[in-house]
Amino acid sequence: MSTNGNGNNNGEVLKDGPNETGVEGVTGNVSGAGPSPESEPGSVTAGKAAPPPGKLTKADFSSDQEVRWCPGCGDYAILNSVQRVMPDLGIPREKIVFVSGIGCSSRFPYYMNTYGFHSIHGRAPAVATGIKASNPELSVWVVTGDGDGLSIGGNHFMHALRRNLDLNIILFNNRIYGLTKGQYSPTSEFGKKTKSTPMGVIDYPVTPLSLAIASEATFVARSIDIDVKHLSSIVESAAKHKGVSFVEVYQNCNIFNDGAFEHFTERTVRPERVLYLEHGKPMVFGKNRDRGIRMNGTRPEVVQLGSETGLGESDCLVHDVHIEDPSVAFMLARMEQPEFPQPVGIFRDVRRETYEDLLAHQIEESVARSGRGQLHKLIHSGDMWVVE
C-alpha cells in the first residue's frame, strides 16, 4: 500500500505536515510560470480581448488550441460546420457549453471557444444533464462517438434522450474505435475484420437512430461529414429544437476505417444513393428525381417514377417530422443501402416538455405551496422537546 495516498509523508516533498518545508517546493511555483510552459502550444482564452460588439463570426468560436485530429479526418468538417452555425444561433459564447466523453470526437470541446468539459468515457450525457438541470439558460452540447455514446455510454445515451433535457447531442459515427487504434464498435458491420476481430465481427450492429427513436428522443436527425451545407442546416435545426436533439453524423475515419460510407456519400453517387428527407415533401431521390419511396403494405419500397410506371411524386410517401407516433421515423431509420437510398435529414421533431422545465415547475409549485424554505423551520421541526 502506498503511504502517500494520505499525503503528508511523501518523502522528499512533504515531511510531517502540510505547512512544512516540502510544500514550499510546490508553492514556490504557485503563481509562477510552472514547469515547461512552452511544452504545449496556446494559452487560455480568457485574457484575450472580449469579442467585438455585434454579431460573432466563425472565428470567434475557434479556440487557440491546435486541432490534433489526423489529417483528412472527417472530424474537421464537422468542427467547421458547427463553428459556422454558432454565430447564427445568436447565443453568447459564455452561455454555450460543449461536453464530451472519450474518443477522437470527444476532443471537440478543446477547439470551441466556449465553456467546455472533456469528461470521461461514455458519461458526457450525464455530465451535461447536471449542467442543464442546474442552469437551463445554457446551450448545452454533447459530442460523442459510436463507441463512447453507444457502447460504454449506452445507458446514459438512452436515459438522456428519454428525459428530454434540451441538450444537443451529436454522435460522430465512424463505425470503428479510432483512439484505441482500430477495434470494432457497436456500429461496425457484421463480419468486419478489425484488430480485435481478425476473423470478423460476430455481434450484430446497432442503428443509432433506431436506438434514439426507441429511447423517446424528440428530435432525431442524420447527416454526413462532407456535406457541409446539409450538416450545418441540421445542426442549426437541432440547436433550435426545444428538447433533446440527436444528430448522427456519418464520419470518415481515414486511418482505421477509410471509406466506410463512401459507397453512398461520394459526391458523384450521392444523389442516387442518398435520400434527403424534407418535411412536407415527398420522398424522392435521384439526380433526375426519378425514384421515390412508397408504402407497399407494411413495408416501404423504392419505385421508379415517370411515364413508364405511371407513378409520380404524389404517389410517394410524404415526410412528416411532427408525427407523435414514431413508427414511420423508425421505419425510415431502418432503411439502408443497397436496398434503399440511405436517408439523411430530420427523421423526427416533436414537442414535449423538457426535464429542466418540469423540474423548475416542481420547485415553483413547492414554493407556492409551502413558501420559500426557511432554515429555522427546517431545523426546528420533527419530534422536538424542550429541556428547561
Binding site: 502540510p18 516540502g22 494559452s43 472580449a50 453568447p92 469528461s119 447536471g130 445507458n155
Partner: protein, 621 residues
C-alpha cells in the same frame, strides 16, 4: 374487555422501581411493525426527557416469508436518566412477537432479563418455521429469564371486536404492535398521548384504522395495569441534559438537512444526484421533499450518472452532491477522479454497509475508508470526513461542503448504516451560530487563469458558467499549470501530481485539532472514527471511573489528519484502534506516524459493545 377500555378499575398498587437505564429490543416479523413500535417508544421517551439511542436492525428482504428466521425485524432502544451514547450492549427486555423473533434475539438478552412473549404465535407451524423442535415455552429454554406470557393477538382482537371496530380480522391483527406498545408504556410509566396524537394524524383519512390503533394502544396499557401479569413497573427519570431545544434525529435525516443547510449557507442551490441504494436512499427521499429550498434531486439511471450529473451541476455553480453506499462508490470512483483532476467542489456521501460486493445491505460497517482515501486510479487525493454520531451528521455535512469549496476538491463524507438509521437527541442549533461558507467566483477576464492557485489554499479559481470572458475548457487529461491546457510534459505532470496532493494536505490548516477525552497523556489512547464514538467514549468513561490511565480521541477528519494527531499519538504508551473493519485507520496511522498502534476489529454488521472495548483495553493496562 370493553369494560377495561371504558371504565378501567382503579389501578392496583404495584411496586414502582426506579432504574437508571433500560435497553429494550422489540422483535417480530418484518410485517409486524416493530420499527414503528420502537420509534414511537423512542419519541415518547425523548419527550419525557430521557436520553435515548437506538439501533434498528431489519432484514434486507422487504418481506421474507412470514414467521421465518430471515424475516425477523428488530429495534433496540436504550433510554436513560443519564447521558448515554449507544443503543446498549445487551437488551434488558426483549419483546418477542413470534417464535422466530425469540429464536434470533434470545442469545442477546442479558442473563435474568425480562421477556415479553406473544404466546398466540407459538403454534406448531410457526415453531417449525423458527426451527424449534419443541415449544420453548414448555421446556427449559427460557430458564433464568423473567418471562411474561401474554396472549397479545387474541386479547387485542377481542378488544377491537368488543369496541365495535369494523375491520377484517387480519386488519385488526395488524394493530397488535400498538397493543404491545401499550403494555410497555404502562410498564415503563410513559404517557400514551404522543403516540395517540401520532395515530390521529397518521390515519386521519381512515377513521376506522385510527380508532382500531387507539383502542389497541389503550387496551394494551390497561391490560398491563389491571391484570396481575406484572408485579412491578419502572420509572426512568429525566436525564440531566443541557437546557435547550432538542429534536430526535436519525443520521440520514441529519445528513439530508445538513446538506440543505450547507447549500443555504453557501448561497448556492443544492443538486443531489443519486441512485437508490440501501442504506442511503432515505437521504434522497428526504431531500426530494424539500424542493422549496430550490433543492434539485436527480434520480439517475445508475451510480455513475448520479455522480457525473453532480459534477456537471458543480461546474454549473450548484452544490454538487452525490450519495450512495459502498458498492455505489466503487462505480463512481472514475468520475470522482475526474473531479479531482478538474478540481471541482463535490461531496460524496457514503453510507457504509457490510461488504464486499452486495455484502450485508442493511447492516453497518466501516470498511470503505481505504476506498475513500485510496480507491481511485493514479495519485488521486480527496478530503475525507466522517460524522461520529447521528446528530453530528448535520454539522459534518456543513463541514464537507465548506472544505469542498475552500479547496476546490471532492470531499468524502463517510456515514454508516448504524448512524444512518440510529437516532439520538440533537440539541438544535440556532442558524446564526452556524459557520458561513464562502464561495468565490472568478470574474475578471484579464487575470483569469483556470489553473492558477490561491496562495493560501492552493485552490484554483472557480468560474461560473455564463460568465463572459472566462470561457475555458476542463477535462480529465493532465492540465498544464496555470493555463489548464492539455499537457503531457513529464515535469508538468510531476508538478501537478504534487500540487493536487499538497492542496488536499493544506486542508489540515483549516480543520480543528483532535481533542483528547481524559488525560492528554498516559498508558492507553483509544482512537476511533465514525460511529464507534459512542461505544469507545462510554468504555473509556467506565475505565476512567475505575481509575485506569485511559483516554480517547475521535477523528472527524481522516484525510488529511488534524495537525496535532502525531503529538497526541506519541503521548501514550499504547494506541488501540477499534474499527468495524480489519484495521484500515490503524494501517494509515502506523504508516504515517510510525506508531505501534493496535487494531481491534469487529466486522459483524453490528456496532461495538461497550464491554467489548473495555475488555480489549484492559488487556493493555
Amino acid at each position: 374487555m370493553s369494560a377495561i377500555i371504558e371504565n378501567p378499575p382503579a389501578a392496583r398498587e404495584r411496586d414502582v422501581e426506579e432504574v437508571e437505564t433500560v435497553t429494550i429490543r422489540f422483535a417480530g416479523d418484518s410485517g409486524d411493525g416493530m420499527q414503528l413500535t420502537g420509534t414511537q417508544f423512542t419519541n415518547t421517551s425523548a419527550i419525557v426527557g430521557n436520553d435515548i439511542s437506538t439501533l434498528p436492525d431489519f432484514p434486507a428482504e422487504i418481506r421474507a416469508p412470514a414467521g421465518s428466521l430471515p424475516g425477523v425485524s428488530g429495534f433496540q432502544l436504550n433510554f436513560s436518566s443519564r447521558d448515554i451514547r449507544t443503543p446498549g450492549d445487551q437488551p434488558n427486555v426483549l419483546v418477542a412477537m413470534n417464535p422466530a423473533a425469540l429464536k434470533v434475539n434470545l442469545p442477546d438478552l442479558e442473563d435474568g432479563g425480562t421477556l415479553l412473549i406473544n404466546t398466540d404465535e407459538f403454534n406448531k407451524e410457526n415453531l417449525k418455521k423458527a426451527n424449534y423442535s419443541a415449544n420453548p415455552l414448555e421446556d427449559d429454554t427460557l430458564k433464568g429469564y423473567r418471562v411474561h406470557r401474554l396472549p397479545i393477538s387474541t386479547v387485542n382482537i377481542r378488544a377491537l371486536q368488543e369496541a365495535g371496530v369494523k375491520l377484517s380480522r387480519k386488519e385488526m391483527d395488524r394493530c397488535k404492535n400498538f397493543f404491545a406498545l401499550g403494555i410497555l408504556y404502562w410498564l415503563y410509566d410513559r404517557p400514551m398521548e404522543p403516540t395517540l396524537e401520532w395515530i390521529r394524524a397518521k390515519f386521519k383519512k381512515n377513521e376506522e384504522v385510527m380508532r382500531a390503533n387507539e383502542v389497541a394502544l389503550k387496551t394494551g396499557y390497561n391490560f398491563a395495569d389491571t391484570t396481575e401479569v406484572f408485579t412491578t413497573h419502572y420509572k426512568v427519570k429525566k436525564a440531566a441534559t443541557a437546557p435547550g431545544k432538542y429534536r430526535k434525529i436519525t443520521g440520514n435525516e441529519a445528513t439530508a438537512i445538513g446538506f440543505i443547510t450547507a447549500a443555504e449557507l453557501a448561497g448556492r442551490p443544492l443538486f443531489y444526484g443519486s441512485y437508490p441504494i440501501t442504506p442511503a436512499s432515505d437521504i434522497l427521499h428526504e431531500l426530494a421533499r424539500h424542493k422549496n429550498f430550490g433543492v434539485k434531486t436527480f434520480q439517475a439511471e445508475d451510480e455513475i450518472a448520479a455522480v457525473c450529473a453532480a459534477i456537471g451541476a458543480s461546474f454549473a455553480g450548484h452544490v454538487g452532491l452525490t450519495g450512495t453506499s459502498g458498492p455505489g462508490v466503487a462505480l463512481k470512483q472514475e468520475a470522482i477522479g475526474l473531479a479531482v483532476m478538474t478540481e471541482l467542489p463535490l461531496v460524496i456521501i457514503n453510507v457504509q454497509r457490510g461488504g464486499p460486493s452486495t455484502g450485508l445491505p442493511t447492516k453497518t460497517e466501516q470498511a470503505d475508508l481505504f476506498q475513500a482515501v485510496w480507491g481511485r486510479n493514479g495519485e488521486c487525493p480527496a478530503i475525507v470526513v466522517a460524522p461520529a454520531t447521528p446528530a453530528e451528521c448535520f454539522s459534518m455535512a456543513i463541514e464537507a461542503v465548506r472544505l469542498a469549496y475552500r479547496y476546490m476538491t471532492p470531499v468524502f463524507y463517510l456515514s454508516d448504516g448504524y448512524l444512518a438509521n440510529g437516532a439520538e437527541p440533537w440539541l438544535v442549533p440556532e442558524i446564526e451560530d452556524l459557520p458561513k461558507i464562502d464561495v468565490q467566483f472568478a470574474s475578471d477576464p484579464a487575470t483569469f487563469m483556470p489553473y492558477a492557485r490561491d496562495e493560501e489554499t492552493l485552490a484554483r479559481p472557480y468560474a461560473l458558467l455564463g460568465t463572459p470572458g472566462l470561457e475555458h475548457r476542463i477535462g480529465g487529461i493532465e492540465k498544464q499549470h496555470l493555463t489548464g491546457n492539455v499537457n503531457y510534459d513529464p515535469e508538468n505532470h510531476h508538478f501537478m501530481v504534487l500540487m493536487r496532493q499538497a492542496k488536499v494536505d493544506r486542508a489540515a490548516q483549516d480543520i480543528p485539532d483532535v481533542e483528547v477525552y481524559g488525560e492528554p497523556s498516559g498508558k492507553v489512547l483509544v482512537l476511533g472514527w465514525g460511529s464507534t464514538y459512542g461505544s469507545i467514549t462510554s468504555a473509556v468513561e467506565k475505565l476512567r471511573a475505575e481509575g485506569k490511565s485511559v483516554s480517547s480521541a475521535h477523528l472527524r477528519h481522516l484525510n488529511p489528519f488534524p495537525a496535532n494527531l502525531g503529538d497526541v499519538l506519541r503521548s501514550f504508551e499504547r494506541v488501540i484502534i477499534p474499527e468495524m473493519n480489519l484495521g484500515q485507520l490503524c494501517t494509515m496511522i502506523r504508516a504515517k506516524y510510525l506508531v505501534d498502534a493496535v487494531p481491534f476489529s469487529k466486522v459483524k454488521g453490528r456496532p461495538f459493545q461497550i464491554r467489548e472495548i473495555v475488555k480489549k483495553v484492559e488487556e493493555y493496562l
